[in-house]
Amino acid sequence: MTLTTPANSPDARIGQVRDTPEVAVGEIDPRIDLTHGTESQWQLIRRRFSKHRLAVVSLWILSLFVFVAIFAGFVAPNDPGNVKARYTYAPPQALHFIDKTDEGWSFRPYVYGYTVEIEPEALRRTFVIDEDKKIYLTFFKRSWEYKLFGLIPTDIHLIGPERSRDPFYLFGADRLGRDMFSRLVYGTQISLSVGLVGVIMSLVLGVIIGGAAGYFGGWFDAVTQRAIEFLRSLPTIPLWMGLAAAMPSDWSPLQTYFAITLILSFLGWTELARVVRGRFLALNGEDYVAAARYDGCSHLRVIVRHMVPAFTSHIITAASLAVPAMILAETALSFLGLGLQAPVISWGVLLQEAQNIRTLATAPWLLLPGAAIVIAVLAMNFIGDGLRDAADPYAK
């Protein structure tokens, strides 16, 4: 340490007040505790997020959904498009794990089979669970073929009946005897990906447009703000209907899928652009951003190194709250028959089946996709809330 007091009288130096809460000139504070304060922003966010119990539970639930979506073919026991007229509106089977036989107890999952009875007057077929017919299940069962990640052909499934011909309907069957559980699993894949892809597209648009508006201001800001206000004043459902109606009917399901996500993000970016613009405006006034400019940083470095890290957490929060809105929008469009079309399966497409009250009365399990939507949307909202609370660096 070269920093010692010069020759003048020490009494004239008002700073020579010792053992105050701060260290005096030229001394190094021995009380600085080196075990704290080394956590980065992300570590702090993670720690605070982990204290938000509801958000953590939601994160696990969402992870399960994502797992199911990625490994849809592996999770689904039946081919979701496989029509079996015999099992039209078959009710859900309960899953049993412990097999109680005369020899004793054993771990062997099974479901009970069905007996079909035909009511003589109405000629209506009803399914009765037949407790005498046990359908044993095996793990990693080889049955129908699918492509893992759309690439690797395989035929291994998490669970399936020992004999492939036996019925196995955990969530029941629909009008055409297709397995609701497998269809829900595949619907998860489409619905979640529509939400994610849509949000990523809106994010790119929103960050670029909102960022430019906030950082440079001026006429560009004025124009984009008015454009956003105009877009947000349009009633969404009629607008989507118009855009969806404009789609050529001979498009393949894949093309419609991309067109729908594009339509959804066409409005979704406005919200994110506003968030980004607001953050840029707020940060422009921060002293540390001014300090970065005086340090000689270029515009790009000020933005990328000093400003963007300050609001990535906000962006993630805004995005995680935008995903459920996207999913709901897709569901609404598909439910109205304007969005995705069969044979593509999404939660909205599945709910189309539940439009008829009479079929609902006989097969209430057709509403299960609705439950999936509620759970997914709630989970994502809770995660968004948890992130928002955790992201504020000075929050208590």
Partner: protein
């Protein structure tokens, strides 16, 4: 004065308050005892976090979310001879509410946020009167007008129907006092009532409070961190440290025969007009580094759609100053005087409409700071660096100290890798922090430590000029003194010139060689620090200097 003067109206004994937390409770104050006497002012001093405000709130039993753990607060009705114990009352109950406002009134530091912006001043005073006195609205209005007249607000009949935003800071604080005095309380609690005000306004408010105290004969509990204010108005002084009372006594005894070491420290760190200059002047040479010529800048009022722009604000009016090599030039003025605008013009953030600001670089080239090309050049701002006022906002919370201090070195391509790390460690030690602090993030440091980090960043590029915009005004007394001494050391060691913007005359006298006084955008007087403080020439400077409280009760001049 009434006949009751000197009688004890409030007795606090062994008061302890704690904040309950998940990991046990945090003690805010422990075992605090004091008396308040009618007609006398008791000042509570201590640095931030010492428990002064908590004590005041405990008297009114509004400490939520904390709880009063122990102790007694006895409110004495001197005329009736009755006593009420306040700490045991339900904080939301009717009994304590009858005390609050009526017998004990409180005024706060921030007059803007303690007045409701959507109600007129009158409505708010009348409400307070109606709550505690059995009168009709018309009488209450008359009393409110009288109260405003008593706090010396001009045209109280008109002013009563104005909104808080139409009042200046000093007028708002007067209105708060009027509201507090509306019910003629026995005790007035004033929690840093003048801290947010300019020094001349502070002097007026202190004078007003003293006069009102004499006419009403009430006890005043005055909380402040400014020893100058204490010396001016206190009868008794209570010194607090870490939630405990370390010294109580008559003001003269506390100032001239302090018993506790901490009181001595506070007194030493308090800076008033009597403060000796640092005694190291004379290093300045004749070489001029920055000179401004007739800088004028007016902010036009905002352009509105379909509306003509108004006249705007004249922030700088023909400002000519010069900063010489090796000197510390103080720019002093009250809020709105244009001193920060001047700093921003020099730092290239604002462009003046008229005038020039010339910087002479190390290579002897004259650069015009008002030219945007100079800002893009970069060379100038490697030699001219800035220290900010807010130690919290000026450090990026998402970067480590190493990244923060190393940023200017890195972006200017001077150092990287291990060499950068070594240099940052060296800079940290130079400002009095351990080199190992570089791994940490700003949230781990206190205000004074953060300001040291800011200084390390400023000197990283080996600058010639440092512009310090209120660099110490967010800090407590003794920490402020340490930062000033650090800057003085660095000045000699690194051959720095410092442009120091401040509103605190005591700091300026101690720290600066020369001073320029600004008022309404103009430089009204320039001279050496000692000359400006001891023999001010300009009437405004005289007014400013005479309003500065002196931390010595024997030299009272604000309230006689």
């Amino acid at each position: 004065m009434t006949a009751q003067t000197g009688k004890t109206v409030l007795e606090v004994r062994g008061l302890s308050v704690a904040f309950p937390g998940r990991k046990g409770e945090t003690t805010a104050i422990s075992n605090v005892s004091f008396d308040l006497k009618l007609g006398q002012t008791t000042c509570f001093v201590g640095e931030s976090g010492s428990g002064k405000s908590v004590t005041a709130r405990a008297v009114l039993n509004i400490v939520e979310p904390a709880v009063i753990k122990a102790g007694a607060i006895n409110l004495v009705d001197v005329e009736a001879g009755q006593r009420i114990e306040l700490s045991g009352l339900n904080p939301d109950g009717a009994e304590i509410r009858a005390v609050r406002g009526a017998r004990i009134a409180m005024i706060f530091q921030e007059p803007m946020s303690s007045l409701s912006p959507v109600h007129t001043i009158g409505e708010q005073i009348i409400e307070a009167i109606l709550l505690h006195q059995d009168v009709d609205t018309a009488t209450a209005r008359d009393r409110a007008i009288e109260a405003l007249r008593a706090v010396q607000i001009k045209n109280p009949e008109e002013a009563i129907d104005r909104y808080p935003f139409e009042y200046s800071g000093g007028m708002r604080q007067r209105a708060m006092i009027a509201m507090a005095l509306g019910c003629e309380p026995d005790i007035l609690i004033a929690d840093e009532p003048t801290t947010a005000l300019d020094v001349t306004t502070q002097a007026e408010i202190l004078r007003l409070l003293k006069g009102l105290q004499e006419s009403h004969g009430m006890a005043v509990m005055f909380i402040t961190h400014d020893m100058g204010v204490v010396a001016e108005i206190a009868d008794q002084v209570v010194v607090m440290l870490h939630g405990s009372v370390v010294e109580t006594g008559e003001v003269d005894q506390v100032f001239h025969a302090p018993a506790h070491a901490y009181t001595k420290k506070l007194l030493k760190a308090s800076m008033g007009l009597d403060e000796a200059a640092h005694g190291r002047a004379g290093v300045a040479s004749g070489e001029v580094l920055i000179e401004t010529h007739n800088l004028s800048l007016s902010f036009p009022s905002k352009k509105k759609l379909l509306r003509k722009p108004g006249s705007g604000v004249q922030a700088l009016d023909e400002v000519s100053v010069e900063l010489r090599r090796g000197e510390i030039l103080g720019i002093v003025g009250e809020s709105g005087s244009g001193k920060t605008t001047l700093a921003r013009v020099l730092m290239g953030r604002f462009r003046p409409q008229v005038g020039q600001a010339i910087y002479h670089t190390r290579d002897g080239v004259a650069k015009d700071l008002t030219d945007p090309a100079t800002f893009r050049d970069g060379q100038v701002y490697r030699e001219m660096r800035m220290i900010f006022q807010d130690p919290y906002g000026s450090l990026n919370p998402r970067m480590t100290v190493q990244q923060i201090i190393g940023e200017p070195l890195l972006v200017n391509g001077l150092l990287k890798g291990a060499a950068l790390r070594d240099r940052v460690g060296e800079l940290l030690e130079r400002v009095g922090l351990p080199a190992s602090a570089m791994e940490r993030y700003p949230h781990a440091f206190s205000g004074g430590q953060r300001q040291r980090i800011g200084i390390a960043r400023a000197i990283a590029l080996d600058p010639r000029v440092i512009i310090a915009d209120e660099a110490t005004s967010a800090l407590d007394g003794s920490i402020r003194a340490q930062i000033l001494d650090l800057l003085l050391d660095l000045r000699t060691e690194l051959d720095l010139s410092i442009l120091f913007i401040a509103h605190d005359i005591g700091v300026v006298r101690y720290f600066c060689d020369r001073v320029a006084v600004m008022h309404k955008g103009r430089v009204v007087e320039t001279g050496t620090a000692v000359q400006i403080c001891d023999a001010p020439q300009d009437p405004y400077t005289q007014r400013l200097i005479s309003a500065v409280p002196i931390p010595d009760p024997r030299k009272r001049h604000l309230v006689a």
